[in-house]
Symmetry: C2
Amino acid sequence: MTILNVRLKPEPPKEFPIYIGLGDTLTAMTLIKKHYNGKQIVVITDRNVAKLYGDKLKNYLEIDGFNVLFLTVNSGESAKSTLVKEKLELQMLEQKIDRHALILAFGGGVIGDLAGFVASTYMRGIKYIQLPTTLLAMIDSSVGGKTAINTKLGKNLIGSFYQPLAVIMDLTYLNSLSKKMRINGLIEAIKIFLTSDRDSFYFLRDNLDKVLKLDGDAIKLVIEKAVKLKVQVVEEDEKEQNLRMILNFGHTIGHAIEKLEKYKILHGYAVALGILVEVKIAHLMKKLNENDVNIIFDFFKKLNITTKRLRTLNKEDIALATIGDKKNKQGEISCILLKNIGKVALENGMVATQISHSVIVDSLKKIIEK
Amino acid sequence: MTILNVRLKPEPPKEFPIYIGLGDTLTAMTLIKKHYNGKQIVVITDRNVAKLYGDKLKNYLEIDGFNVLFLTVNSGESAKSTLVKEKLELQMLEQKIDRHALILAFGGGVIGDLAGFVASTYMRGIKYIQLPTTLLAMIDSSVGGKTAINTKLGKNLIGSFYQPLAVIMDLTYLNSLSKKMRINGLIEAIKIFLTSDRDSFYFLRDNLDKVLKLDGDAIKLVIEKAVKLKVQVVEEDEKEQNLRMILNFGHTIGHAIEKLEKYKILHGYAVALGILVEVKIAHLMKKLNENDVNIIFDFFKKLNITTKRLRTLNKEDIALATIGDKKNKQGEISCILLKNIGKVALENGMVATQISHSVIVDSLKKIIEK
């Protein structure tokens, strides 16, 4: 037997900047040019964003001398599909887009996930830049390089880890978001504050009205803080071996709720409900004290998010729906449990705790009867 | 404007072994166990291979205590499609295959490309091992981590760079290959010898009968030599920035021929014709002398490969069909040209030369009138 040992050259460390600011101080065009010296840009966006900002962006890019292929998909989670991905690829191929082109992911979380995934497999990978337009995408999905599409058997099950050249967060886009969409995004900030930063949680709680009104300083502070925390986590553990799993707080139950609600519920709202259930589980498992539980439940009440919504769902169904989640190994359910506000309970050095089906059902009973 | 600089931890260098031997000295089961300590294996193969070797492999894996999900696709290039990829993913999801499972790519080049691509995006990437069964897959496609599917607009246009845990080449599988399939695989060895190793080219030429009869030493030597050369190239330039492009020798024209023949022609045979045309182009462009051209054409004649086949194709069509190739940048056609047998002509330090449409047409005229 002959053995040839292949040892590939190590790749240079992946580095990229995240820019946060307002359109007039942060000019996306200058930043795009700084990071990309090619000619061809493929903008991938959805119909809502295209309607609001599409012409303007396209004009600016063309004035700056880029060839622009502007591709629009339907708004909403359904765009994260094999079908839509393939359609985008064929449109790009028909227009002879080569591997030196840049994709601009222009929209919310759905667009970032979809366009990032297209970038990662088009001719085995081309460059892309994230230009998020929603609070959810800024705080969470545009940072970290996770790309994905959904399957009929669950969310984000097919995808890749693929980092952009840059993330450009222009807070002016937030003005067009409804209060509901602002709350939807804010949940991911609350999530990371609850797991990692007690002070920021209380800051957000005490400045909630300002933040929701997009008061310049308050909203920027919350975004910056949340993004910084997420960056620290991703820098430490890009491929989600351990620490990065804390970002799944609220998501084990949250994804199950989304699935049962057939993705008609907004992601943030599903995660918020997931957080409430997982907080209750942590309390039941004697990790988290009652005082912290109450503080968290009270805070969500201010956002008009209570567990009433869960009453229409079957407890067993929720527990069962967690099983297909890709965080789980061979039937066990993996869950992030708080130790206190700002800290996660560790189990054998791991941030995720394995819990049983029955604990989920018990917690749901307690919550719903509360 | 705030700038957060993200700097991800460098990934450990990618290292993996390639094992080459006969089934009795090289026991695939022991090697799989050595590299994978999980329980769940997903075998992806095609109907031909399944019929010949499927039961045996499945039994061995199960005796060794693995849970085996055995997935079969149609034989041939048509399996490298979005549709088949999605079907495999859904079958895996239905069987609750989690991200700790291992995919075994068991078959020829099509299976390696397809199964590797499935592995690279299933739950954002799971482990896989290449177990090639054809000469083509051993010599070329199982080495280097290129995975892909085809689109109706061209071959291998969607895919990824994704390295396996190991490549296990058991030469006993070659016995079931027809002479045509042996030649089909050998072309990729001829290709790399012509670009990088004069001595091996002459060794192969002078031992062609032995090699085609799978004489133990001769065939092993050719495979080892070709794989070693490919490994050196991939180690130096995994992502095909420059050097790795030499592996595309014969492929610019070869891919165009495959496309025009609607993939009914075997890959190796298309590349062989591509090599002949590209050799002629190199001669026309005064890079390669006539003596070497004749040696190469004479050698291919021994394999019964001549340019007669090209007469049924339109010269303009071939030239046009090269334009969609992903190696090309903004309309120019990128081509690997020989300087002499065993060496590639450089252009400004790059191994690929930009050529014009008309040079291709002229070369085709010369060849066909020859």
